[in-house]
Subunit: 246 residues, 2 copies
DNA sequence: AAGTGGTCTAGACCACTCT
DNA sequence: GAGTGGTCTAGACCACTTG
C-alpha cells in the first residue's frame, strides 16, 4: 500500500499536479462551463471532486489568479473574472484640465468591409472576411483628444453594425459585455510614434505633420480569441507612460 | 493547552506571520548581512531559527521572490539577487541593422556639479550637494543612436570622477557593481516625447527640432536609495514598446 | 551521498461575508 | 451560524545540484 498516486507528475506528462489541475479548471472556464462573473465551487469541494488535498487545489487556484482567469474574495468565494480594469487609453496620455473623467465618444464613421490582410492577421481571420470598421473621436471637456480606428469581426459584432451609434456608451468594453457577452480578458498595446496626416490632424485640431503617439491594441477574450484590433492616436506631447523594472 | 501562538497575527501588528517574517528577512538583506550574490541559509534552518513551520517560511521566501529581493534555484539554494536583468534602453528602441548587440559607449562630458533642485529631488539629495554629471553617446554599428545625461551622487561614485573614461565598460550597471559595489535593484522609467534642440540633434546626426523619445530613469539599490538619475533621448521613429494588460 | 528547494498531504484554526 | 477563503502546522517524499 505504498503508492497509488502522489508523484510530482500527476495525470499530465511533465506537469506538477497543481499545474495540470489549473489546466483542467482553465478548460472548464474557457469552455463556458463557468462564465465571467459566476462563482466556482468552494475550494474544499473542488479538492474533493478532483481527489487532491486542499493545499494542492489552492496552489492550482493561485495559478489561475496569477493568470488573470479568476478572482478570490475572502468570505465570498471564487469568481471568473469579468473584464479588464486598467485598459483605459488615458493611462498613456495626460491632458491638462480633464483629469480622471471618462472621455466622451463620437463615432465618425462605421462600415462593414472585407478584412484587408493586415487586419485579418491581427484579428486571426481569413483575408476578406467581413469586419466592422469604426472611426471614433474621443473628447475631454469638449476638446478632441484621441482619434481611433477600430476593427471588429463582423460575425461577433453584427448587432453593432445597424443600430444608433449616438446611443452607444462612451466606454466600449462594458458595452461589448452587456450587449454581446464579449468579455475582454487580456490586451496587448504596442506603442509607437508617427506624424499626423492631414485628415487625422483636422479631427484632432492639430497641424498636419504634428507628432503623435500611436497605440496599436489587440484585445482578446477568455479563450484567447482576438476580438478587437484598434489604433489610437493622440498628441505626442501629451503622451507619458511609466514602467517599473525589478 | 489550547493555545500559545498560532494567531493570524504573529509578532507584528496586523501582519500575517509570513509577512512579518518576510519583513525581518528583508531587513537582514538591506542591512547588508546578506549581500547581493550571497546565499541565505537553507529554508529548514531558517524555519527552525525563527520557530515556524517550514511551509510558513516558504511563504515568506515566496514573498521576497515576488518583490525581487531573492532568487531561489532548485538544488542550489536561495540567493540575494544581483542586479537588474532587463533594464537595457534598447527594449524601447528598434534600430535597423544592429539587433541584439550592446551599443558602444562614448563619454562626451564629465564634471562634478552642485545638484540643481530637480536633480536633487530625483536623487533624494539636498540642493547643492556634489553630483557627478555625465553626457554619454551610445552608438550601434558606428552610428550615434542614443544621447544620455546621467546624474550620480558624488559621495557614492567618487572613483568615477577622475579615472580614464575611455576605459569604462559599455554597460554601466555591471561596472557600478564591480567597481563600487552598487547594485541596481529596481528602476522606474518615465517615457515621453519631445523635440531635439540644436546640440542634441548634432550629436545624434538628426536635424534640430526632430521628434525624439525621452526616457527619464530613476534607479534604486536594495535599500531603496536612488543611485542614478538619467535622461535618454533617441529618434522617436525608432521608439516602440509593448505593454500587456491582464 | 548529502544538501538544497519543490510537491503533496491531512488536519486545525482564524477571518471575512452573508442571512 | 453557516459557508467561504486565508493561515499555520508537521511530516513524507520527489527532483535537482554538487562533491
Amino acid at each position: 500500500m505504498s503508492s497509488h498516486l502522489q508523484l510530482a507528475t500527476g495525470n499530465e506528462p511533465g506537469l506538477s499536479r497543481y499545474a495540470s489541475l489549473a489546466q483542467a479548471l482553465r478548460a472548464r472556464i474557457t469552455s463556458g462551463e463557468w462564465t465571467p462573473g459566476a462563482a466556482l465551487p468552494a475550494e474544499n469541494q473542488l479538492a474533493q471532486e478532483h481527489g487532491v488535498a486542499l493545499g494542492t487545489m489552492r496552489r492550482a487556484l493561485e495559478l489561475l489568479v496569477e493568470q488573470g482567469f479568476i478572482e478570490r474574495i475572502h468570505g465570498r468565494g471564487t469568481f471568473v473574472r469579468q473584464g479588464l480594469s486598467g485598459a483605459t487609453m488615458l493611462r498613456f496620455f495626460r491632458f491638462d484640465g480633464g483629469t480622471g473623467e471618462v472621455p466622451t465618444s463620437r463615432i465618425l464613421d462605421r462600415r462593414v468591409l472585407n478584412a484587408p490582410p493586415a487586419v485579418a492577421r491581427g484579428l486571426g481571420l481569413a483575408v476578406g472576411e467581413p469586419v466592422l470598421r469604426l472611426h471614433r473621436l474621443r473628447l475631454m471637456e469638449g476638446l478632441p483628444r484621441l482619434l481611433e480606428e477600430l476593427w471588429l469581426p463582423h460575425a461577433l459584432f453584427a448587432p453593432l453594425a445597424d443600430d444608433d451609434t449616438a446611443a452607444w456608451d462612451d466606454l466600449l468594453y462594458p458595452m461589448y459585455a452587456r450587449r454581446l457577452q464579449i468579455h475582454v480578458h487580456r490586451a496587448r498595446d504596442e506603442i509607437g510614434f508617427s506624424l499626423l496626416n492631414a485628415s487625422q490632424a483636422q479631427h484632432l485640431n492639430l497641424p498636419p505633420g504634428h507628432p503623435c503617439a500611436v497605440v496599436e491594441r489587440a484585445a482578446f477574450d477568455l479563450t484567447g480569441r482576438c476580438v478587437e484590433w484598434r489604433i489610437t492616436r493622440g498628441d505626442a506631447h501629451a503622451f507619458h507612460y511609466t514602467v517599473h523594472i525589478t
